[in-house]
């Protein structure tokens, strides 16, 4: 089995990002969408770490910690919003919540 190269990590990251994006656009459940966003964030994290390792630097890894912290906060706030929305409309479909417009 050959040693994984930078390209392999980037490919994996791209695939993960695509899966996340597809999830955001295709799924009809707010919680699933939040999960998909987490997948996208982690795909990006993977890229950071891989490139960092390749370049032998440490900056990217620090950014990853930031991203993880923010993602945790985002999950907390996002889930709270989802709960509030559910209480309001008894539904988790994003298509129900379209009143915030002209």
């Amino acid at each position: 089995m050959p040693e994984p190269t930078l390209n392999s990590y980037l490919m994996l990251s791209a695939v993960l990002f695509a899966i996340g994006t597809a999830g955001v656009f295709l799924r009809r459940n707010l919680i699933t969408i939040l999960l998909s966003i987490e997948i996208m964030l982690n795909a990006v994290n993977l890229t950071f770490v891989a490139v960092d390792r390749y370049l032998g630097a440490a900056d990217g890894q620090i950014i990853v910690f930031f991203v993880m912290t923010v993602a945790a906060a985002e999950a907390a706030v996002g889930l709270a919003i989802v709960i509030a929305l559910f209480r309001h409309k008894e539904s988790l479909s994003p298509d129900v919540f379209t009143t915030l417009k002209w």
Binding site: D95, K101, W102
Partner: protein, 674 residues
């Protein structure tokens, strides 16, 4: 600082009455105003005395004073500078002297107003005096212009003093608007002069013009001078009520009578005459302008004189008389007799102020009635007013040896001697008219039966004894006529004495006098002692000239007597004959009563077209159509596009996420494949 003090004192009076007038009693506010004028008059007298004692420098006696440099920009330097030379000396004496008397008179005349109105009146009057003094003292055009506009403002404020009365408010507006036409000419003339000669100082300008005229290469200069002087004359015609801009002055009689006396007879309306005389050298280099000035002057004198014959409002007759006399002054200026014009200005200030104040006393006595047809027989009830009024009337009619005779005769003689025989003839006719309409006024107001209900309380029962009749009728609704109270009487008597003797400073050589005023004024109309007028001063007139002059004097005196005789016949001896004449020449009579329908003509030819143009083109077309259309159009376009673009805000989170995603893809794609 002395010269600046002359306008400053009334200005301080204005500030006091404006700031504290509401809390001051009438005695204090009237007293402050009158004292300010009196002090200013004293300072003026001292300054003139100083001037008389000075040696001429370069042929001119003058006191210059620069307060500070007002404007400086490139070649333009305008100091706030005052200058007293013989011409402005005469003017400051007239303005402060007559002004003080009229302030004094006003303290009694305006006494029925509330404290607040009283103070307002005196603050305006003081402000007027301050501006008028700036006007006559200014040594360059812009400073004169400050005064020029300032007196226009005060005139507006005082004509519309009783602004709750629509006619007064309208008259004020009319005066302001008509004067604006003239001021437009004034400003353009000023700009033309600065453009051509690079200076706005009167003295420097005169010197520049006369040296430039000596240079044969400067032909273009003559055109500029003619154009500039014509524009300046337009300004003078506006301020001094000459054809075609005289229409505001008769309406200006809506103001209080002392205002009519001070502003619209003695001082402000003579500003145009003063301005032309101030620029005598300049105007002398524009013969065409001078001809126009003389023509307009004599025409105005005639037109106003004929209108005056048929008016029934006592103040309006006097107003037309003022217009007519101003025409006389312009005639004098036009024939190059600047000194004669200023001489007439000076005597006219006395007798016209007297006549106006007299008419004010009459109006006061008959409780605000101004219609001559409702007066009559006031001779007995108002002895002081009647006697002083008679002096004024004789003076304006031009009977020797009263003031009007000398000044009017000087003008007539200079016109004749200058070879303007036609103008002379017309001026003589105007003199005849003057005597006629003034005596008509005198007879209608003071002679005959009492026609005023207040004055004629018991008059009809005993027509032979009006004075006693009304005196005994004290129990009826009207008390006895009360003659002018002391403050008014003093002003009347002083002015009457002035009207009697003011002419003696200008007794012509032909009558053995020395015509001091002409000798005194002459340097003001010259550059370094060179005579500017077309008419050279003739101290050594030949014998033939002297006898001609004496003959002409006799003629004009006879003309005045004839005018008086006609008025006596028509309005005293046979009042019915005047009505018969009016009926026989009904067309002419209607024309005169209607003031030649000039107001109606202006209304139809100028006011209405401007109104229509403003309404249709400017308001509906440009303002409502173009400007509003542009603003509203921008709004409409934005609204239209917004209606389309707002569809993008669906409220669906997925749609937003999709557009963000697509945006990122497009941007990345651009950077990857460019």
């Amino acid at each position: 600082m002395t010269l600046a003090l002359i306008p400053l004192l009334p200005f301080i009076g204005f500030l006091v009455n404006t700031a504290f007038g509401r809390r001051l009693s009438k005695t204090v506010s009237g007293g402050v105003a009158t004292a300010a004028m009196g002090l200013s008059c004293g300072v003026s007298a001292a300054v003139v005395w100083d001037l008389l004692g000075r040696q001429p420098v370069g042929g001119v006696r003058a006191i210059d004073e620069t307060v500070y440099t007002w404007l400086q920009s490139g070649p333009l330097e305008i100091p706030l500078a005052f200058r007293v030379d013989p011409l402005s000396a005469v003017m400051i004496l007239v303005v402060t002297g007559i002004g003080t008397l009229i302030h004094l008179y006003s303290t009694a005349y305006m006494h029925e107003e509330t404290e607040r109105e009283y103070a307002r009146y005196f603050s305006y009057l003081n402000l007027f005096a301050a501006f008028m003094l700036v006007l006559v003292l200014g040594s360059n055009f812009p400073v004169m212009f400050i005064g020029w506009e300032g007196v226009g403002l005060c005139s507006y404020l005082l004509i519309g003093f009783w602004f709750t009365k629509p006619s007064a408010a309208d008259a004020g507006k009319k005066a302001f608007v008509v004067n604006r036409v003239g001021d437009f000419g004034f400003v353009l003339g000023m700009l033309a002069l600065f453009w051509a000669f690079g200076t706005l100082d009167f003295q420097v300008l005169a010197a520049t013009v006369s040296t430039r005229a000596a240079d044969p290469a400067a032909v273009a200069g003559a055109t500029v001078i003619t154009a500039a002087t014509l524009l300046l004359f337009l300004g003078a015609a506006g301020k001094s009520a000459q054809i075609p801009l005289y229409v505001w002055l008769p309406d200006a009689m809506e103001g209080p009578t002392p205002v009519s006396a001070l502003i619209h007879a003695a001082t402000m309306v003579t500003a145009g005459v003063y301005m032309v005389a101030r620029n005598a050298v300049l105007f002398s280099h524009a013969p065409l302008t001078l001809e126009i000035v003389a023509g307009v002057g004599v025409l105005t004198a005639l037109v106003a004189g004929t209108i005056g014959l048929a008016q029934n409002d006592i103040k309006r007759v006097l107003a037309y008389s003022t217009v007519s006399q101003l025409g006389y002054m312009f005639l004098a200026l036009g024939v190059g007799a600047f000194a004669a014009g200023i001489f007439h200005l000076y005597t006219h200030a006395f007798f016209k102020a007297l006549l106006f104040l007299g008419s004010g006393a009459v109006i006061h006595a008959v409780h605000g009635e101004q219609d001559l047809r409702r007066m009559g027989g006031l001779r007995h009830g108002l002895p002081v007013t009647y006697r002083t009024f008679l002096v004024g009337t004789l003076a304006i009619a031009g009977l020797p040896p009263l003031a009007g005779f000398f000044s009017k005769d000087e003008i007539l003689w200079k016109t004749f001697a200058g070879g303007h025989t036609v103008l002379w003839g017309l001026a003589v006719v105007a003199a005849f008219l003057t005597a006629t309409y003034m005596f008509r006024l005198l007879y209608l107001a003071f002679f005959g039966e009492r026609r005023h209900p207040a004055a004629a309380a018991a008059g009809h029962a005993a027509p032979g004894d009006h004075g006693g009749g009304s005196g005994q009728a004290g129990a009826a609704h009207a008390g006895p006529l009360h003659d002018a109270p002391p403050a008014m009487a003093i002003a009347l008597v002083v002015l009457a004495i002035g009207s009697g003797v003011a002419g003696f400073i200008g007794v012509p050589h032909a009558l053995g006098g020395h015509n001091q005023i002409e000798t005194f004024l002459a340097p003001s109309f010259t550059v370094g002692g060179v005579e500017a007028g077309v008419q050279p001063a003739a101290p050594a007139a030949s014998h033939a000239d002297t006898s001609t002059e004496r003959g002409l004097m006799l003629v004009s005196t006879l003309i005045a007597v004839a005018g008086i005789a006609l008025a006596t016949r028509l309005f005293r001896r046979r009042p019915d004959e005047a009505d018969r004449l009016a009926a026989r020449f009904a067309g002419v009579h209607r024309l005169l009563v209607g003031k030649y329908f000039v107001d109606e003509l202006y209304e139809a030819a100028i006011v209405q077209p401007i109104k229509r143009f403003s309404t249709r083109a400017l308001w509906r077309g440009i303002d409502a159509g173009l400007v509003d259309g542009l603003v509203n159009g921008v709004g409409l376009v934005v609204r239209g596009w917004s209606a389309v673009l707002r569809r993008l805000q669906t409220g669906s989170v997925r749609a937003y996420a999709m557009s963000t995603f697509l945006g990122v893809v497009v941007m990345l794609g651009y950077y990857l494949w460019r």
